[in-house]
Symmetry: C3
Subunit: 452 residues, 3 copies
């Protein structure tokens, strides 16, 4: 498969991703419950997603699938009967996983259950209490300041009961069983960048890849953060060694520069592929070393799995003031940023799909390119010079030990140009395919053994 980046109408794709985000925005999601189901059903209208339901109480490694949480209504009323905080206005107002409550209390007691951001007094924070039973409301600090001494009716019509953890999965088979994993989280309520942008981009990738021939098989996970990836890994442990490359998708809709966080392996093919693409993209970018804190790469990169899974975002979580607040809204994500992110993801996939080891069939001295019409066959004068250099590099380094990506990196020429040159040389019989396996040193047998 060759991703034809020029043929792909990214502007159009950006707008479609933005529309999907708009549709999903109002839904109150959590790590379990009907909000997740509703979200996945909407996605099923676009892609043939499989929906899994895992019962409360299921043991998943060191964890247990929690009770399912649902909420119908939640508010705080003052003594005049005015709703001073209302879940209907914004689902962020409710502490996620709040237990049901209905009582009237003084302001002082109420305040113990209110969360604000004094440093951003206009914004509603997003807070959760998954593993410690509690109730609470989030509101802007300005709104808090306006609350007078009064008796307040607190009403949360929620349920926390045995049920299921729900997640979506889609497996797109390719020529081989080797898999590329894309994972996004679906557990945040009305938050656009930190949640919905990843869902939208994953959906776009499914649609795009479905229409292409594929060397790799692709697995897409739409899961609640942390408990979702732990659950999937626990239930699919035997499949994990098929995962040759992976990315956690999230935060791909803001206007910031792209940021890649390396896998724990640090020099896996996915790491080298993403870094190559970002280097040659002509835009600012940032590279972060692996750390065991973040999104679901924490689980994929735990030492017992050590999968080659990195994280490709725009501005990293926690590094923008809108993060986990009501300001991560439909104004914060941009169709053009979504388009730019999706183009980057496709370019990375293009590297993975086309990165092979070829063998120079004529390794003693250079072959005579001129007599085969290989000089100046590709594009204009500047392109010609570059493609000649690319051909010389591919021939010189196709010695069983360098993949095309290695050659691109050593030559400083983009993978796209190296790939095109390799194809021309292959067609001219100057290269043949190798059965050599691409070096992924740290990968092979690198998951921590449990045998002492």
């Amino acid at each position: 498969m060759i991703v034809d980046l020029e043929a792909c109408n990214f502007q159009q794709q950006g707008l479609e991703m933005y529309r999907l985000i708009s549709e999903l925005y109002p839904i109150c999601r959590s790590i379990t419950g009907d909000g997740v189901r509703k979200t996945l059903h909407i996605l099923q209208q676009l892609i043939p997603l499989e929906i899994h339901e895992v019962p409360t109480g299921t043991k998943v490694f060191d964890w247990t699938v929690p009770k399912e949480w649902n909420v119908r209504e939640a508010y705080v009323k003052n003594s005049k009967g005015e709703k001073v905080i209302d879940f209907q206005a914004s689902n962020l107002h409710l502490l996620n996983y709040s237990v049901p409550i209905h009582k009237t209390i003084a302001l002082s007691e109420l305040k113990e259950h209110l969360f604000t951001l004094p440093e951003h007094p206009d914004l509603i924070p997003y807070r959760t209490s998954y593993y410690k039973e509690n109730w609470g409301f989030c509101l802007s600090h300005n709104a808090l300041q306006k609350l007078e001494e009064d008796e307040y009716e607190v009403y949360i019509d929620s349920s926390l009961e045995d049920g299921h953890l729900t997640y979506g999965e889609y497996y797109l088979p390719g020529e081989t069983d080797d898999e590329v994993l894309f994972s996004c989280h679906i557990c945040h309520p009305s938050l656009c960048n930190d949640n919905l942008s990843g869902i939208a981009l994953a959906t776009f990738l499914v649609k795009h890849l479905s229409s292409q021939s594929r060397r790799y098989s692709y697995r897409f996970l739409f899961i609640p953060g942390t408990i979702g990836s732990i659950t999937w890994l626990a239930l699919n442990e035997t499949k994990t060694d098929r995962i040759k490359h992976g990315l956690v998708i999230s935060g791909v809709g803001d206007a910031g520069k792209m940021t890649y966080k390396k896998s724990r392996q640090g020099d896996a093919e996915i790491d080298r592929a993403v870094i190559h693409i970002l280097k040659h993209k002509g835009e600012e970018y940032a590279i972060e070393e692996f750390s065991p804190y973040g999104y679901d790469e924490r689980q994929y990169c735990s030492p017992g799995f050590n999968l080659p899974v990195g994280r490709l975002t725009r501005t990293p979580f926690g590094q923008y003031p809108q993060y986990h607040t009501s300001a991560d809204n439909l104004d914060f994500v941009k169709p053009e940023s979504l388009a730019n992110s999706s183009m980057t993801y496709l370019a990375v996939i293009d590297v993975l799909e086309n990165n092979r080891i070829y063998i120079n069939t004529n390794p003693k001295c250079e072959p005579q390119l001129g007599k085969r019409g290989l000089y100046g066959t590709l594009g204009g004068e500047q392109d010609k010079k570059m493609s000649e250099m690319a051909m010389l590099w591919v021939l010189n380094l196709s010695d069983r030990t360098h993949s095309l990506l290695d050659i691109a990196n050593r030559s400083g020429i983009s993978f796209q140009v190296i790939k095109r040159s390799a194809i021309a040389l292959l067609q001219a019989g100057l290269l043949r395919e190798s059965s050599e396996v691409i070096r992924n040193d740290l990968r092979a047998g690198s998951a921590m053994s449990l045998i002492a």
Copy 2:
């Protein structure tokens, strides 16, 4: 053993070390003789030092233990009978290892045996002539200028005869036979930083470590420079493979920044431990690559031994103008510098004592820290965040291939915090001890083989 840096009263320790330096300062030491014996006897009042006497003529590798040198009196008198140079005023005045002489000579002949520092006209230089028989006096250049044409009586009441080379040794056993070596030289006369500061710090370490439980055994050597370490190595050759880490202590009393000179191995655990501590200490420091010039690390790091022994000083020898002059006196060393140096040494020992490889007992996905009360159990909000990160790092990297020091270095978190987190995880059953050996690649079998 955990070194409790906060519990140790460093200010007090600095003053005690300074007092010891003051007591030892007037003694005329050399590579052999009664000055060394007197020095070691004073130390014996503080620590149970073993004193060794090695006879003149003993073959020690390519060297021979020299004759023993002692001096009672030495002066130069002018024709009026005035002592113009007097050993009693400063033992630096006498060329160390001067042979006995008594004659009257003209100024011109005398001048051939006088040493000064024209660039520092107030200072008396320190000079020796161990391996070439000679006599001479050292004086300030100003004093030299004042000497008039005259006949001078030169009197040196010294002896250079068969006797012994004397050194002190103290072995402090620990849980294992693996040793940490601390070596300081004791052969300089009235020089404070380049000699006495190292002796004082080594004495402090003996006292401190004696009262602690110890994983390692500790060996302290108080030896004359060069010939002393050569002698010890020759007489203790079979013990040297127990030395797993070592430091040459010297020049630890001046006000300059700390400077670490790496062992010949360059990446031994001692190198990584010292560099880690200096990095996290929050003060300026310098790192030097190994070179075969310097103090006794020259011998410990000779290719036939190649021991992992570095050198931890403040300003390196030769890089301060007071070096090897009468200005390296009691004003030049500072109690607070001695205290700071001793704290650094203890922090390094703390790393060595506690650096282990643990194994994550729950390597597939993260364990649920919350249900074990491991979130927020240690200290304030900032501490809490740091210790959570430290726990995640320890869990993520405890895969049999990373020691706690490796984890500290990769995470950028101080060893102290990593260590505390590891202990908490160990207590919670989330880690277990490993029998894996800490990587010291260059060490294992690295001493130069003598078999061709």
Copy 3:
């Protein structure tokens, strides 16, 4: 062999090289033909060169030896019978490998066969058409501008016929069969730096090395670019594994700084030797990574050979405006630059000849240098200090794993000083020669295997 750089009269050598360049300058060379033969015959008067003739049509790997080209006369006359372009004035005027032609044509048709450099309107460019039959003239852009509408008589009295490719070779045997290869190209007409400077330097090296004892054997190739090295490699394939080090010589006469382009191996002994010499030479220099574009290193470093052959020039080809123009003339090359280049080449040879692994016979602690008179035996005070340090380094690192060049690089001391110290230690019995082989990791078995 020790190259005594001080004994060599470089100024004289520079003038002799310049005289040789002057003699060869007028000859019209190409990749085949009598110009090459005449050039080699002149060289034969200086050095006992062997001249090889390879017939047209000989298959050499993917290439075929081309027809032989010769030219007697060539001009363009205007309708007044004036020669407006004349091969006799400069052999650059003729497109190299032009086929014979004689006809009268209009300016417009003529212009399709004229080549100029508009950006350097005074200079005649150098152009070739070896593998596509064509005819043409090169001239200054100013001269082109002066051509008026007219009928022009075009006359090229050349021949392109079966014949031979001619090259020169000289093999200078040494103590071992291991070879050092020096290769220069001889296919350019009146171009001084890009051609003749390399020929002159190679000739000087033959003369110099002939009078020396040699550890290595030396092979000198005077060959047409590309097709010449391909031909030599094809006809001498079985000899290539004797080549342990090599340099392509070219562009060594301009006033620019020296530039080393690494071999494909990148860390071969020749790479380390040249870089060491350039670092310690005290002049500006540049290091380039290998790339598969350039002079004949392209062929020597093709993956089926992967020979440790770098390229040592002054300003690299294409990076000076005189390159491949009439300005690369006798004014552009300087006797002092040629002298400086030859000194650098000899210094590199000195490293190769003397780089050995020695073994410290006394590896446990330092040997006592003083009793052997090894202190201060070599030169002045500063030299003495340096040579003492060099002795300590040599002793410390002569542990079977470091060559003298490794020791020079780790210590930062020049190879010359390290070598002298090693000789002194060897004479004192403190070193012995080792049978260990110098590390050339990437070399051993690194040529691409043809067995799948």
